[in-house]
Amino acid sequence: MDSNTVSPDVSSKMDIKDKIIKAYKEHILIHGTEPPSIFAFCKELGITEDVFYEHFNTFEQVAASFWKELFHNVAEEVKAEEGYTAYEAKEKLLTFFYAFFEALKPHRSFALLSFKDSVSLLKRDSQHLSEMKKDFKLWAAELINEGIRKGEIAQRLRVTNAYDNILWLQFMFLLNFWRKDGSHDFERTDAAIEKSVRFGFDLMEKNALDSAFDFGKFLFQDR
């Protein structure tokens, strides 16, 4: 069969990529810093440098790839959840966040080290989280459109376009929260997700703000 001739190559490529990510994570976990050079890293792993460059240019990209894959795995996972398609946008976002932090749990040490040097996650996101950010914002934009279509989220000129950015900031807030969370089984993070998403959607849905604007416009036109 055709697929048989293609797949070994593809899968071995995937294997190498995963292997690099895994080895990079392990190095960070054991030594607490990035490998001294790509050369040293490849030697340790037993691959040649050009194999590394086939997939990545820098260590940052390796880390970015870890986050991106985690995001996609979780996005796929929640989509498969029973009843997910019938959920409201708010519930979809909640489900995503819960699943994401659950999936991140086994990688906590790496995640903490990965952000060790940064004062704030927000500054670092240009490097390690850049790819995840792009994809998350696409995902979020889709979610928001769905929310608008179903009337869950108020359509507000200009403001609506910034919602995907706001959701990203919320995501980063939660990541930061989780980083410092010392509670049993990260229950405080669960509470932070619950409360911040509820608050966010309270703001995004049609509320007093929209009525005030509408009323103001009416008065203005009626002068």
Binding site: L94, E102, S120, R188, I193
Partner: protein, 437 residues
Amino acid sequence: MKEQDHIPTSRISRTGNFLKTGAKVGGNYLKYYSKRLLGTDDTDGLQRENAEDIYNTLSKLKGSALKIAQMMSMDEGVLPKAYTDKFTQAQYSAPPLSYPLVVKTFKSQLGKAPQTLFDSFSKNAVAAASIGQVHRAEKDGKKLAVKVQYPGVADSISSDLRIIRPLVSTMLNISSSEMEHYLAEVETRLMEETDYELELIRSQTISKACSSIQGLEFPAYYPEYSAGRILTMDWLEGKHLDEFLKDEPSQELRNQLGQILWDFYDFQVHELKQVHADPHPGNFLFRADGTIGVIDFGCIKEFSHEFYSDYFQLMIPEVTNNDRAFEELLFKLDFLLKADRSEEVEHFKKVYFEVHNLLAQPFFADEFNFADDQYFARIYALSQVYQNDKMLRKAKAARGPRDSIYLNRTYFGLYSLLHKLGARIKTHSRVTGLTEH
């Protein structure tokens, strides 16, 4: 430096909420005193405004703070009426958990989503409990009630209590040392209440022990669908007291239901020496066929035999009417302390005699009419008198056995349930047996 920002911050912001209330309550007092200077004494108005401000703050801080609001609303004798009216609202309302969080809780505690575990599961909560909410489920044709706890409740209890301490001590007019005495016990009970595994075991034990009491129904519990923060039991039919009373049940039915409650508590206190110490209206389901469903065994108070036999001496007229014996008993129970001056001993003895005599009234007669408004007005009036008693307020030390806190709360709760129900009760009690020892 930034590293450990988070937890203190949230505590600070929560403290902030309380401070705001403190300031508002302070403002209310200012208003009150200026009104009084002008010659109008508006105590009720003051208390109403305080209650509102405090309630608004508490309702922003869910979890244990809500629980405390709920608890205080039980003690109608201890708290001024305006407080209790406002707090009673806390007994039924709290913000619901989102469905995804419920799913997550199931997955992490039982390994499966609720739809997989049960044949059907209500997406929305059908009722709120103070530290969680109740969903309806079905499995193999059986109707079930599934209680799911808010995350992080256990973690926030002690910090909530630390925050609430100064506030409550001003509200109740009691010294902070007395508060300490009170809160240590409260903290233990609250922590137990967050442990659904413990609740499951206790529910099974108590419902088995009380199975001989006619007219009571307990749900069966399902360990296979329960975990630390999930508790599954049978769905019981019935109405909450307020709703039940709207159907205007006959006096006979009300007496019958009240009698069942009385017997239930009498049996627990005197036979089991442990008691369902949360007799708030939400935990009982009343039915027109003259039976009661009992749910929620989160708060169980067990007491030692020694405490039991000493404490219930207070209910025996032969002891309380004998000055020497009564004084001895008060010393034994720490109501009176060795350090007390003789005029304090005399004064407190008089106070305790009066209070206990009044509260033990139902025990002294064969039958007692809990519908009697006069009786409850007297309890309320007496508590007002002693709240303003200078010598009592000056007393720094905490008085009375710690074990009595929840026992008193239980009886206050029971009295107020029976009062609302307007029931006439045959108060035959096993206490009378004590005199024969």
